[in-house]
């Protein structure tokens, strides 16, 4: 097999300069100059990473934020250079970057296609040849000679993706492309990427969407703190990552030492309709989240909640007892609280959950489990939009 891409003991160091706090008096210029001479701390974003990608292979790279995935991508696409080691790229490489980042609002759609296409490395002739396909795929034919500042955000995104999707590289880099846009758009991305893969392109895919990684990639690297810790078949490595994510839980203690918590959260688990505990659910499935707790001292007006974070740390949604208007009073002993939904409304992704119990809301936090459990959602009901809204429908017909 031909090797299309190889990383040989590649490291990337960033120098982080410490800001010397100014003591208020003293010349600001002197402080600035002193800061220039201050000692920099080294941060190894990527440390001694080696791997190879064969022609036609799809490699996935997964890991937490700050694991070094994006740095690997930046090194591959030559946006930045390694501190040591060597990267060999055999063929034309293109990165499917955040769509539309090269657009200029004053230029028309057509002009922007040329602009963006050439930024991505296409020749003018190539763009002229593909112009029709690009416009058709984006569905913006009527507006092609309108300045893109008049475009709706949906048209903007579609045109941006369409340009990138019509690149014809030997090696394709994908970074979180599936994280943008609605489900139909993501579907389109996946479909296009599968087609590229079938036509024999070499693909490197970096994503938090573990479902997509599993579906697209032949092999996956798991990165942690700048190093590759596991590599192997997709399913195996994704499973390893999930168990790792669960283990890396941190319980945030909000109490001073020696003090006992009135309430302690013990476990959080997800169950399906049959009552089975599962880590993976599909969009539209029923789900029950069970929080088990132990009460040491009585608490009036307690509030329980489970917050779901996206992989990049944004709060995505919450289950809480607060919204119901009923107040909970806890008596010493063990108990459990169940949050359930008939249809899980979130789209595919991986979600970190935090569990808390507090007195009043917003009130005093009694116990807080920070990002303790992982919920993975795979595509079930395929939806357009940002989330699945549970709904019914009925029909009437007249002659």
């Amino acid at each position: 097999m031909t090797i299309d891409l190889s990383f040989n003991h590649v490291s990337k160091r960033y120098r982080i300069r410490e800001e010397i706090p100014s003591n208020g008096n003293g010349n600001p210029l002197v402080t600035k100059l002193r800061a220039l001479r201050s000692r920099a701390t080294d941060f190894w974003a990527v440390r001694d990473v080696s791997f190879e990608v064969e022609r036609g292979e799809a490699l996935g790279i997964i890991g937490h934020n700050g694991a070094g995935k994006s740095t690997v991508l930046k090194l591959l696409s030559n946006i930045t250079t390694p501190t040591s080691g060597e990267i060999v790229i055999n063929g034309r490489l293109a990165a499917l970057i955040e769509v539309g980042s090269g657009f200029h609002p004053e230029l028309t759609g057509r002009e922007n296609i040329y602009l963006n296409g050439s930024i991505l490395g296409m020749s003018r002739r190539e763009i002229t040849d593909k112009l029709d396909d690009i416009v058709e795929f984006a569905g913006v034919r009527q507006f092609i000679d309108t300045p893109v500042k008049r475009f709706s955000s949906g048209m903007y995104v579609r045109l941006g993706f369409s340009i990138a999707a019509h690149l014809n590289p030997d090696i394709l880099l994908l970074d979180e492309v599936l994280a943008v846009g609605d489900a139909s758009f993501q579907q389109k991305c996946i479909q296009r990427i599968s087609e590229l893969k079938r036509s024999g392109k070499t693909i490197v895919f970096i994503s938090h969407d573990l479902g997509a990684v599993e579906r697209l990639c032949d092999r996956v690297l798991l990165m942690k703190r700048g190093e590759v810790i596991t590599s192997g078949p997709a399913r195996q490595v994704v499973a390893a990552y999930q168990s790792d994510a669960t283990l890396s839980s941190e319980s945030v203690e909000v109490h001073k030492k020696g003090e006992t918590k009135e309430v302690e959260i013990r476990t959080l688990s997800f169950r399906d309709a049959a009552g089975e505990v599962r880590p993976v659910f599909e969009t539209g499935e029923p789900l029950t989240a069970t929080v088990e707790f132990e009460v040491h001292e009585p608490v009036e007006n307690a509030v329980f909640g489970v917050i779901f974070f996206t992989a990049d740390g944004q709060e995505h949604f919450e289950f809480t007892t607060d919204g119901s208007g009923e107040s909970i009073s806890l008596k010493p002993g063990r108990g459990k609280i169940e949050f359930s939904t008939h249809e899980l409304g979130v789209l595919p992704g991986i979600f970190f959950t935090s569990v808390y119990v507090s007195e009043g809301n917003p009130g005093r936090v009694i116990h807080y489990h920070y990002k303790s459990t992982v919920l993975r959602v795979d595509s079930g009901k395929v939806m357009h939009g940002n989330f699945y809204m549970p709904h019914r429908w009925s029909m009437t017909q007249s002659k």
């Binding site: 696409s77 080691g85 990267i87 990165a95």
Partner: protein, 296 residues
């Protein structure tokens, strides 16, 4: 909404055509080398389409949504000329040796506008494209270069006014006017080197962008832009001519207005400085380029 499918057959066709020998690229830690200069030029040539598209874009965008559009390229040096004519030919009189002052001023301002707009715009060129620089690779020198190209384009447009002025003042044109081509070429080399250095420095030290207009203002008065070289006392001339812009502006004026060949001593100094500076500036730029995305 249906999900459009993509013509897979087209891909297959492309694949057969594209199965040409592939380019192998090696990326390693940055290092200074004359070979790097050559490699840089080869890669820049591969990206010539981007240079072209971005330069056209630069020119188009500048005058979009302005009523006067491309006329601004003419109006800028023209209005400056009127101001200086008022100051130096009506209020304070400068001896011009018989040449009409507006022509003296316009030739100087024409070249100076090219010089200063190219440098000022390109200095901010990398920083203002941070969103691109951190997301996709292309030879970074393309960004400052497009501003230089746009300034040269504006220069050509504004030159039409110079022709008009020469007709109006009945200035005779000789074959010596052809010297303007190498003179403008030398100026472009000089502008390019300075744009490369300043834009690379601006990424790390934003002070450059702030100090630059002031520096250029001083530089303009140290160059025979709004006065003729003959107004400079003879004993300072030698030192004065070390400024590469002196030879460029003066030689341009001599060949166009006076119809005589350039002064080879002063233009020689300018040419030498420009030719030595350009490769140095390019190697410096390429060295800084490697870490631009980390710093910007």
């Amino acid at each position: 909404m249906s999900v459009p499918s993509v013509n897979t057959e087209a891909f297959e066709r492309e694949r057969e055509i594209v199965e040409a020998p592939r380019r192998v690229r090696r990326i390693t830690a940055p290092s200074f080398s004359p070979l790097g200069l050559l490699r840089g030029i080869v890669v820049l040539w591969q990206y010539r389409d981007l240079l072209y598209t971005l330069s056209v874009h630069r020119i188009k965008v500048r005058y979009k949504q302005s009523v006067l559009g491309i006329l601004w390229a003419v109006l800028q040096p023209l209005s400056l000329m009127l101001i200086y004519t008022l100051v130096f030919s009506v209020v304070a009189r400068i001896p011009t040796g018989g040449t009409p002052y507006p022509i003296i001023a316009f030739t100087g301002l024409l070249l100076w506008t090219l010089f200063s707009t190219a440098i000022i715009n390109s200095t901010n060129g990398l920083v203002s494209h941070a969103h691109l620089v951190t997301k996709v690779y292309f030879p970074r020198e393309i960004l400052p270069l497009t501003y230089v190209i746009a300034a040269v384009f504006d220069f050509l447009i504004a030159s039409v006014v110079l022709i008009g002025l020469m007709v109006y003042y009945q200035v005779a044109v000789t074959w010596n006017v052809l010297w303007t081509v190498p003179i403008v070429l030398i100026l472009t080399c000089l502008v390019t080197s300075m744009s490369l250095v300043f834009s690379a420095l601006q990424v790390r030290f934003r002070d450059i962008g702030v100090a630059l207009p002031l520096l250029l203002q001083l530089w303009m008065f140290a160059t025979p832009v709004v006065y003729p070289l003959s107004a400079v006392p003879e004993r300072f001339r030698w030192f004065y001519s070390l400024n590469p812009m002196v030879g460029i502006v003066e030689s341009f004026r001599r060949t166009v207005v006076d119809g005589v060949p350039p002064d080879f001593a002063t233009i020689g100094v300018s040419a030498l400085i420009a030719i030595v500076l350009l490769p140095i500036a390019y190697v410096f730029f390429k060295h800084v380029e490697a870490t631009i995305a980390d710093v910007i």
